[in-house]
Amino acid sequence: MTAGALAVSRAGPAPRPVGWAGVALGAVAWFIALPPLLVRTPVPSLLLALAAVAAGVFAVRGDERRLGGWAVAAGALGGVGAVVATRSGEGNLEDVFVWSALFAAMLRFATPLVFGALGGIVCERSGVINIGLEGMMLMGCFFGIFGADLTGSWLLGALIGMASGGALGLVHALFSIQFRADQVVSGFAMNFLAVGITGYVFISHYGDQGTPDDIPRVPVVTLPLIEDIPFVGDVIGRQSLLTWLALLLVPALALYLFRTPRGLRLRSVGEKPRAADSVGVPVLRTRYLAVITSGLLAALGGVYLSVAFLGSFNENLTQGRGYIALAAVIFGAWRPGGALAATLLFGFSQALAQRLPAFSESTAVLFQALPYVLTLIVVAGLIGRTRPPAAIGVPYVKE
């Protein structure tokens, strides 16, 4: 077997496309057991899943370890998912798997995570750990809606929300960069502070009433022609302006980080600050700006939650979304594209969790844990290790 496989890997197809094919096969294995196809026997799905695993193994042998690992995982998950699906009632499946609604919900759930993850990438690429994403998101979440309510404008509200997150970012920067505090401890403090500050102002201003119903909301972008296309229109025809902004920011940040001199400087500060310093890159200033930017971005994710998505606020509304964003950063190997893929995956699992109660209340809850389980698996290195920026967590002291 080994000799044969090796021979194939030398002469046969390239491991990379095979790996991708494996991932696709795993997805298809699950998909055919769901509406609209609804194959009611698990056999074809299991065969496809097996093929996916085989493709994954092939890719791993061909030195595409990360991708191959994903293909194996996709095969395993697809197989299990298909078996579960074939054992569930058709009616239940049709209730849950309304694909257009699922994908639309996926984008909605992913939006705050995208903002948070992009903020996390900027911050961590500069060499500062940001456990405080959750807190910065929560700040934007409350002060965004608070500002929108006070000024009567969603735009001003969004700016106020972002400013509040940026302010928290500034505090984190001040402590972790200037005072050389332990970055994890300082970031953790941000989360406590944010819960306290937002809760305090929320209770003292709104009391038991909660936020009013007539909050000016972030407008929904209605795409005139696309809206009428059956499937696509349902998914992207009516998404929030902020969702589009998030999706646009991903390639923008990728370009900035990897194709501009400033991005290179930012990354160099996170990898080898002393070397960067020696060629004249202002290490501390770069880090300050990065941490503050991450606060602004994460807060915009929070603004989306309250001002665009829900139109209301409650204490600790973010409920760990900042941590999921952090997970997406790691999951996506500190790259905007990877993080986007991770947030879409996490968003999909949240969308499923939202729709599943139609069929089983308790199973739905388990899907909430999925992002964390997947990230733990990634951190464990079971599927392709990811490497953080080299100087992360180390305060820089100029010589």
Partner: protein
Amino acid sequence: MRTPDQPDSAPTGGALAGEEYPAGEGARTPAARLAAYIRGGGIVVPLLTAVLAFLIAGLVMLFTGHDPFGTYKAIFEGTGLQWLFPWVTGDDRTTAALNLQQTLILTTPLILTGLAVAFAFRAGLFNIGGQGQYIVGSVVAVWVGSSFAGMPAFLHVVLAIVAACLAGAAWAGIAGLLKATVGAHEVISTIMLNYIAIWVGVWLFSLGGPLQNDRDPSLPVSNDIVEGAKLPVFWGDPVLQGLHIGIFIALAAVVVFWLILNRSTTGYEVRAVGLNPEAARYSGMSVGRNYVLVMALCGLFAGLAGALDILGWQFRLATNDIQIGLLGFTGIAVALLGRSTASGTVAAAVLFGALLSGTSQRNLDPSIFEPELATNLTYIIQGLVVLLVSADVLVLSLLRRGRGLLLGRRRPVPAQAEETSS
């Protein structure tokens, strides 16, 4: 006089070492920082930190139109600590006793979640997963406590506690194992384990979940634990949530913590690994084994905290408790303020326990300050404490400057030079 310049020499070493060992495993581990801290600050810095945090919170109250003195007085009365004053008599004393019981009930898990973080700090690890370990412990305790109805009482309690401790240890051990085998950063893995514990816990007791209440299918709570599994109450009325004996178990755990760290080979190794993992490795210690062991012990403490809360006063577990509980996170503030020492952790746990009970719905007079507002005030105070503790350089330099001013001592030149350069 060699104390002042010691802490300052460390950061430079850390920055240099950080280039040699990526993944945050620089020589300046939290334990090394802590050692510098203890040398530099002693008991003064934590006190200063706490006072500063309360001061800032007082300013917050002032600016939002509340009377900080009146509020702090009301919070203090809510803690019941005035019971300790011999001149408090009559009805006041009875109320104070009731309130103090609440304070100590909250102090019990805080001591243990504090130890769970403190022990990791001493080994150079940051256990942010106390919350998850606490939840795992309480889930297991509530399951054991509500099953095995016919069991003798004492055995039942012991079984529930041991099972919860082991579960907590196993849960935290995952993070230790990942750190030891593949070098996964324990901060990330424990955060993930927290949320996995939260959602799995919610799943277990939510409607239709496997461990949801047998009698009432409309409530997302666990079964009640049986009478025999409840911890005896030794002070106050069991019906009115008197103080259970868990506090003694927690204090015993503090002694165990101190003994392990200071009087055992394991503790020596743990501290050595914490101060400098590379040096420990060269002297033949298994750093990886120590990571697993330390995390498991941390989880054991946090799991015990969960068990004592369930068996001592909660008796059941609702999905809501799992989702909004923060005791494990507060343990981080406890350990940081207590400088990860045994006595410091107890003192900080009493402080935070008092703060939590003094601001609770039950104990705080709502005509003076709304309890919901006060709860958020405690989060602000906790955040400030953690933030100020994180910046040892800041507090130490303030302190050193203060000392120089007060005592007129000549400041060591190199330390000052470095101070200005940053």
